[in-house]
Symmetry: C2
Subunit: 360 residues, 2 copies
């Protein structure tokens, strides 16, 4: 596309000129798009670190940061909350006047910066960190590949909770609608898909891997029981490869989420007549393979994964039993007491994914 190439060339000429001119003056504004950080100036670095470390700050600004390599960055660009097509959500709390940022390391070398910037989405402001130490500070990591490490600030998608039919009616009576010019991603009208419950999982790596499995096996919603790890924790985002940020063709979250307590979960399950399957390490529960291959496992369902160290608490077990949840265990050798919860989730979600019977 010659027009595109011409634009690009124009941009590059502008960029080179700006760099030559501003190279030694600290924090600089290059054209409208690149900020070069050559001194440990507090502002931007502090902002990105705070987004990474502080859940209240993420909630206040409706932003979060993902540390990614170029591959993930491209996946996010292609499918995510910061795809240019998806920036028109005028009522998103995330639409602040502060532009979102992509921070990366470069020693200020023009060719390098150019090569990087042409690959990055135009929706963001670029922040070029000219010292590896700044990148370590922003990522909080000691071992990074500075040439393939990006810190990307994105809008934190709001909760998109499953609503009961009467709650949907109320919203509509109030004049709200889910899509159109006033697209509100936090109001869902569709009946719930099969979904996963993160019950008191604490380890962000495990939660991230679980979310990645949710996306992989077509579970389109995740219910975080209050007290579980935050889905926008930096490690969760990294391990999940940004699962909670991806959008589908209809601009909806590939994996929507909500937070709540078990009571609310039971209301949903009962209201929509969805069976609840609970991953259990107790051998007295029926084995997964007797359940995943029966008619009973067809249709929409809820899968509950529990705390990695302590499993299901006695209180939760009673509540779940009372709600007629079905406890299942993954059949295993007696030499193995349990799997890592992310591995167990992979097996559970693979086995219980929608249409597992008809596919086989």
């Amino acid at each position: 596309n010659p027009l595109h190439e011409e634009c690009l060339l124009h941009e590059l000429i502008e960029l080179i000129g700006s760099l030559l001119y501003y190279k030694h003056s600290g924090v600089m504004q290059l054209g409208k798009t690149i900020q070069l950080i050559t001194k440990p100036d507090g502002g931007i670095i502090k902002h990105l670190v705070k987004l990474r470390e502080s859940k209240p700050y993420r909630e206040r600004t409706s932003r979060c940061v993902v540390q990614s390599d170029l591959r993930l960055l491209k996946e996010l660009v292609y499918h995510s909350a910061f795809h240019p097509d998806h920036e028109s959500e005028s009522d998103l709390a995330a639409q602040h006047t502060i532009p979102k940022k992509i921070a990366f390391y470069s020693n200020g070398d023009q060719d390098e910066i150019q090569n990087l910037v042409v690959q990055l989405p135009k929706t963001h402001q670029f922040v070029c960190l000219t010292h590896e130490g700044f990148l370590k500070k922003v990522t909080g990591l000691q071992n990074i590949d500075p040439n393939n490490c990006f810190v990307v600030e994105v809008a934190k998608p709001p909760e998109r909770p499953i609503l009961m039919p009467e709650e949907i009616s109320e919203k509509i009576a109030e004049g709200k609608q889910e899509q159109g010019p006033d697209y509100r991603p936090n109001f869902r009208q569709d009946p719930p898909p099969s979904f996963v419950v993160v019950n008191q999982l604490q380890d962000p790596g495990n939660v991230g891997n679980l979310l990645r499995c949710c996306v992989g096996f077509g579970f389109k919603h995740v219910f975080f029981v209050n007290g579980s790890a935050d889905g926008f924790n930096e490690k969760v985002l990294r391990a999940s490869r940004g699962a909670l940020l991806l959008r589908d063709q209809e601009k909806r979250a590939v994996l929507s989420y909500e937070c709540g307590d078990l009571e609310r979960l039971f209301t949903i399950a009962k209201g929509y007549n969805m069976p609840i399957y609970v991953s259990d390490t107790e051998g007295i529960s029926p084995p997964l393979d007797t359940i995943s291959n029966t008619e009973a496992s067809e249709g929409k369902k809820i899968v509950v994964m529990n705390n990695e160290a302590s499993g299901i608490s006695e209180n939760d077990r009673e509540q779940l039993q009372h709600a007629q949840a079905k406890f299942v265990h993954i059949p295993m050798s007696p030499y193995c007491k349990s799997l890592n919860v992310a591995s167990a989730a992979a097996v559970m979600l693979y086995s219980l994914r929608d249409n597992v019977v008809t596919k086989e």
Copy 2:
């Protein structure tokens, strides 16, 4: 058992006496069983740290260390290489004169030490670290629960490679035998079980989780392709919950292992007529569910898991194709490029575990 209780009481009295007497004298020998480390003395701490950090040192001493909680420790005591019943392997290189150690933290409080020691196996020498900092040094971890953290030194089980029939004949002709008074765990006579190939996996957490899945799903042997993470790396041992250290009732490794190159793997596969299944992220491979539920997947098999970042190298792919390996992919949503390798391994091994068809 009153006799057992009397012995225990006797031991405790001895212990209390020793403690009262030796409390402030640095490194001490309490009776024959407890060493109290009250000063940053180099010897034992250095030894344990070296075992943790240095593969050559592990190989030279045929020892390794596992950092564990009390639950894992009990599992190891019950099923492992350091169960008293298993200490009679006279020809194990591991049988040095230096006793193996269990190091734990305690502030020197007698009740605490007693409560701990009565729960620990008698086969080891106890090393009581009286400063939390020593435990951090020995484990290399900043966040530990000092009251539930044990560093256990165990014999590093030797390789127990799969041999070809003619190699077995040679060993027997040389007068060697697998079991009996000269039990040699590094010589196996039985035909190979279904096993797993760790092909260039680098992340110790992933390798550990994969090994845990091997045990869980009845894969009894693991073939480390040269260049993969070391199976006795501290993080591998921790993530695998000591998978490579567990023994079955016949005192054999629950999960035996060997290291080698792909050529050797092909020799085994061809010699024993075992199909090779390779986990692939390319969608053009047949999906796992069309394979795991057919007759073809019955019988002993080999499952290859590849590097977490780069997958299968082109060279390996060619070699594997040439050896008529079957490439399979886990069917997944287009929004998910791949799963974490430990999650993928869980799904692969669960689906391809022995007798999967007859069980279902």
